[in-house]
């Protein structure tokens, strides 16, 4: 299955849900947030989100800003 992670195409093993995809990608802890196809996904919903081929995932973390 191909998924776009932060704009880059990646082949991943078909995950059960968003939580397992994030684990597969190596995201740990709670210092990140996620949007799927441009829409925010609350952390408590990760287990309930199924993914499909071509989905676009954005994973963001704190950075400095003005």
């Amino acid at each position: 299955m191909q998924i776009f992670v932060n704009g880059q195409a990646q082949s991943v093993e078909c995950p059960n849900d968003l939580k397992s995809l994030l684990q597969q990608l190596g995201y740990r802890g709670e210092t990140f947030a996620v949007a799927l196809n441009g829409d925010f996904v609350p952390r408590e919903n990760y287990l309930h989100i199924e993914l499909k081929d071509g989905d676009a995932l954005d994973v963001v973390a704190p950075v400095v800003g003005g």
């Binding site: 954005d58 973390a61 704190p62 400095v64 003005g66």
Partner: protein, 284 residues
């Protein structure tokens, strides 16, 4: 001595008692600072402390699992005790803003948001239509929205209409250090919206410009580049703190009214030699 009756300590107390109130929260400092562009995280940290700021801006960006920058920034920010003001820098549409705002709220655990919707790449001018649309939705979702906007009175009024309680008009485009470019518009905003907290955001390049904004009656100043890009950011942060305090107390003290012509400050009555020199001039 008679002048000792009104001491510097009294003045300090007067200034300190006058707190900045934003969305029901009080702050002693009227200087808000950004966390970007510093030579190092350590200098950023020291500069924020020297500025005395109690509100700091930050942002969110894409990050791979290997990067640890997010955790480092977050660790410092948690320790700082400052009110966090996440921004939506780089967003061009209300949809992008809403997604980024929700992600910010989840990570930073705050409803406060510096709303940015950029309408032009060249001068990073805020898009007024996108701002109003995004602000309306964000307020409905419970955000405390501080929009970075232009100095247009009507746009500012529309932002208030949709529920913004604080406005952040630009002094000049972001990162230019040009100071207060359109004083007529800014003065108009101040006069027409006397009860709205107005924070000059962006374009301030020197402490004197920050002091000027405060003398004009603005409630606070938000800046980043002017401190971060100084040769000595820590000392510059302190300079801005002093300038903002001086400008605010000068505004409270009441500036003199400008005059078109000179007016001697030393008494002219009983000026010696006056008659002689006039007589001599007549003889000559």
């Amino acid at each position: 001595m008679w002048w000792r009756r009104w001491s510097v300590d009294d003045s300090k107390r007067l200034i300190m008692n006058e707190q900045l109130n934003l969305y029901g929260k009080n702050f002693n400092s009227r200087l808000l600072v950004g966390t970007a562009l510093y030579p190092s995280p350590a200098i950023m940290r020291e500069s924020v402390e020297a500025s005395g700021a109690e509100i700091i801006t930050l942002s969110l960006r894409r990050q791979s699992p290997e990067q640890q920058q997010g955790k480092m920034i977050w660790d410092y920010i948690r320790e700082s005790g400052c009110q966090l003001l996440p921004n939506t820098a780089g967003c061009r549409t209300p949809r992008e803003v809403i997604a980024l705002a929700e992600m910010s709220r989840e990570i930073f655990q705050t409803d406060w948001l510096k709303l940015e919707v950029i309408g032009d790449d060249y001068n990073l001018q805020p898009d007024p239509y996108g701002l109003i649309e995004a602000a309306r939705e964000l307020v409905k979702r419970g955000f405390k929205v501080l929009p970075y906007c232009t100095d247009d009175l009507v746009v500012c009024r529309r932002l208030l209409d949709v529920g913004c309680e604080v406005l952040m008009p630009w002094g000049a485009p972001i990162g230019t250090g040009q100071g207060l470019l359109n004083k007529y518009n800014l003065q108009t905003l101040r006069e027409r919206l006397p009860d709205v907290p107005l924070i000059i955001d962006a374009g301030i390049g020197a402490p004197s410009q920050a002091a000027e904004a405060m003398e004009m009656g603005f409630d606070a100043v938000l800046l980043n580049t002017a401190i971060a890009k100084a040769q000595n950011p820590v000392v510059m942060a302190q300079s801005f703190r002093l300038a903002v305090e001086a400008g605010r107390s000068a505004h409270a003290a009441g500036l003199m009214v400008k005059r078109q012509t000179a007016s001697p400050s030393t008494p002219t009555l009983d000026m010696p030699f006056w008659q002689q020199s006039s007589s001599k001039a007549l003889q000559d």
